[in-house]
Assembly symmetry: C2
Homo-oligomer: 462 residues x 2
């Protein structure tokens, strides 16, 4: 890297750097309202704030100096760091299981360069070995970057590529699959893969991180280790999400791909099983602690069912009071073939929408009702208004989560538009997306099962 660089800086810090006439890799003396600092200006990462200039001090420590507190800067040199992850080869051991890791975008893991404080994304087996050497104790790792998109930009194109790549690897005989994924829509991808990839012989584990690996509180390496361990060793051959446990970093939870949802925009324990309990807990030290036994078992063969059907003209309508029929009417006019409503209570919308629902029925648009309470079942037969909607062709989607019903309807309408067949496919659970009952400990937070959870709970109550 040559010339002036301001890598990672944004306003107001960026403007202040320019005013002061300094840039990344400059060795500077900064006078500030809080004292004088000498060090090298470091590049910043995308996720950091826009107010600080970060210096690598002589001591080796990094310090963030508020840009608006700097009164004077004097450059004494330039010390550009050139860094590279050591290309150690990922050790192969024929006694360990083969695991394939697919990248879809975002950082799977990274390595902190302690000299410069910069973060180096790691992806190849050699780089991952450098960043998280414990992986080599678990498996023989192969990695492949499928594409690089932000999680919110994932869509059917990526789902189909991913499902096919997973199927091909499994047919080649790997013992498990890990998919690195941004957390925003990780649960959406988990649910569509649960429908596209059926009767799996090995685990397919989606994993992400809520805090990037350059932060001390990062969950990236831990989640990755737990996901790789699950892919290599776990006997649950389903599409799962492996993420940070709710109460401690001593374990991760394995969530069924169709019952999991992101529930906090920033916490590490963001993924939660909704209306059910997770499949298992996993930790490096204690292995797997199963929380239930109704799961698809690992097999020795390499067969699976792959069905990548997907109809794009499907929408979620999230009901709110005073909603007007124009929104649903516009969907019909624009050729939508399926609508998942997230209704209030047991699955209700207001009366002014009924003519729009009749229009859906007449146009052959499949309309499925879910609940925006997220927990609990749709039950439209309790009140007369609900029964009116059933007459208008609205189908109760039981306890499918709205986003799961959306993904399933896309998948089903990709195969048939005959209403009876759509209904048959929609209401017949394939991967736990509909369950007979909600366990009492399936509401709001799953707790219990292992000593550390009990301990945490009793501690938080003091």
């Amino acid at each position: 890297m040559t010339g002036l660089s301001f890598k990672g800086y944004r306003d107001p810090a960026l403007s202040r750097l320019k005013e002061l006439g300094i840039s990344v890799w400059a060795d500077v003396v900064l006078k500030t309202t809080h004292g004088t600092f000498e060090g090298i200006v470091l590049p910043r990462s995308e996720t950091e704030d826009e107010f600080h200039i970060v210096l690598k001090l002589k001591s080796g420590y990094n310090v963030g100096v508020r840009a608006d507190s700097v009164t004077e800067a004097r450059q004494v040199g330039h010390k550009e760091a050139i860094y590279k992850i050591p290309e150690s080869e990922f050790p192969t051991d024929p006694s360990r299981p083969d695991v394939s890791l697919f990248g879809t975008g975002g950082t799977i893991a990274s390595r902190l360069d302690y000299r410069t404080g910069a973060v180096i994304p790691a992806f190849t087996p050699g780089e991952l070995y450098g960043a998280v050497p414990e992986l080599a104790d678990i498996c023989n790792l192969k990695t492949e970057k499928l594409f690089g998109v932000f999680s919110e930009n994932m869509g059917p194109e990526q789902y189909v590529v991913t499902a096919k790549a997973v199927a091909a690897e499994i047919e080649k005989g790997v013992k498990g699959i890990v998919i690195g994924h941004g957390t925003d829509t990780l649960h959406h991808t988990a649910s569509i893969l649960s429908f596209m990839l059926q009767d799996l012989p090995v685990p397919v584990v989606l994993v992400g991180s809520q805090r990037s690996s350059d932060r001390p509180s990062s969950d990236a390496a831990l989640n990755l280790r737990n996901a790789v361990k699950t892919a290599a060793e776990c006997d649950i051959a389903e599409v799962m999400v492996c993420m940070f446990g709710p109460t401690s970093d001593q374990y991760a939870l394995l969530h069924r791909g169709t019952r999991v949802r992101k529930m906090h925009s920033s916490y590490r324990s963001t993924f939660r099983t909704i209306g059910d309990i997770p499949l298992a807990m996993v930790s490096q030290e204690n292995g797997f602690h199963h929380l239930r036994d109704d799961y698809n078992r690992r097999r020795d063969d390499t067969r699976l069912k792959l069905n990548t059907a997907f109809e794009e003209k499907v929408s979620i309508v999230y009901y709110y009071p005073n909603m007007k029929p124009d929104i649903i009417e516009a969907l019909v006019d624009n050729g939508y073939k399926g609508i998942v409503i997230a209704g209030t209570g047991l699955g209700h919308v207001n009366k002014p929408l009924y003519p729009a629902l009749a229009k859906c029925r007449d146009a052959g648009v499949a309309v499925y009702m879910t609940v925006q309470t997220l927990w609990g079942y749709v039950h439209m037969r309790v009140y007369e208004t609900g029964r009116d909607m059933i007459k208008l062709g609205v189908v109760e989607a039981e306890n499918m989560l709205p986003e799961v019903a959306y993904m399933k309807l896309c998948w089903v309408l990709g195969q048939t538009t005959e209403p009876g067949e759509v209904r048959e496919l929609m209401l017949n659970p394939i991967a736990g997306e509909i369950t007979d009952r909600e366990p009492p400990n399936g509401y709001l937070v799953y707790q219990g099962g292992v000593p550390e959870v009990e301990e945490f709970i009793s501690r938080t109550l003091r």
Copy 2:
């Protein structure tokens, strides 16, 4: 009531009654595949199932007989029950506070007629006294039915009528207000009333029930008693929701009107404070247990601010992967003035929507971002994609819940459409709808504070 009645029966039980030639109030002998039953056919309520015929046996007990198990029916008489709630006058005591209760639809409480098993809705003070006599120990009660709509049909017309009625009663000097409301959109009404009714001198308490009063597990009377006690005695002068506590029927929780959401379609403990902790617990025996002290205190005067502004052309767009721009474009074309997006993660939507967001900006449509994780804050400055959206005029709505941001945007756009003023009003918290931080026990479930909660938690962990 004369002639044939099938009150409350639906198919298949309804058809079976007709086939058998019997109706409500018939004294019958029913032969079934499980034995013979003699009794009076009782009317059923709207919320009961459609498969059973209910008989009042000679013993006084009611029994439900599956309609399809009846092989033969013989009518031996007709014993129509004429019932009426005893018109006992609600006792008035000048030493007790005056409370006004408004009905908006649905059943506030009811009285079970033990002779017939029928449910009699109670609403006048005299009837409520008959149904829940303990109310007379708390206050002098006045009731007024404002209208009768299902909760999902509530809208601005009802909000304005309710807000004005509440304001008028408070100005007359009552010590507290209770509003009976269906649970589906109770939290929506609580949030709009939090904006329409400001600087309250007394509590305004919304209450409902998840199980109708003819069921043994009903929460109706308990919730009503706790709500009336809160209106009469509590020192928190805010719009609140008073509903069944999460872990035991020994107490109810008081939720701030802008931070509460229905989270289970059927459980009694459905209302939860999100991203924060509730205001207080209330029980008849122990009174109020405050969980925080940052609330608006009860005053002796009768002044308040009433502002019933409401713009109807506002929508919630709930993002899902592969969303197409046509949905937002249709809103702009249909003259919508405000859109609340529930985005993924920290507040994201996919890139194909950016042109539609530009169209919103150019048309002067106010677009506010919330998170569909429900917990946590919007933070669009972390990734470049979020910063792009900020440039497109999308405003971060902090930690406002999507439905609260919707109600507030309706209220704000009813007052001004000037973008700077809208932003100023939207981002300036009026009633706790935006908070500086989320307490650690504000995520997923609020627990703790009283011995019975701790006890319950430890019990569930065994």
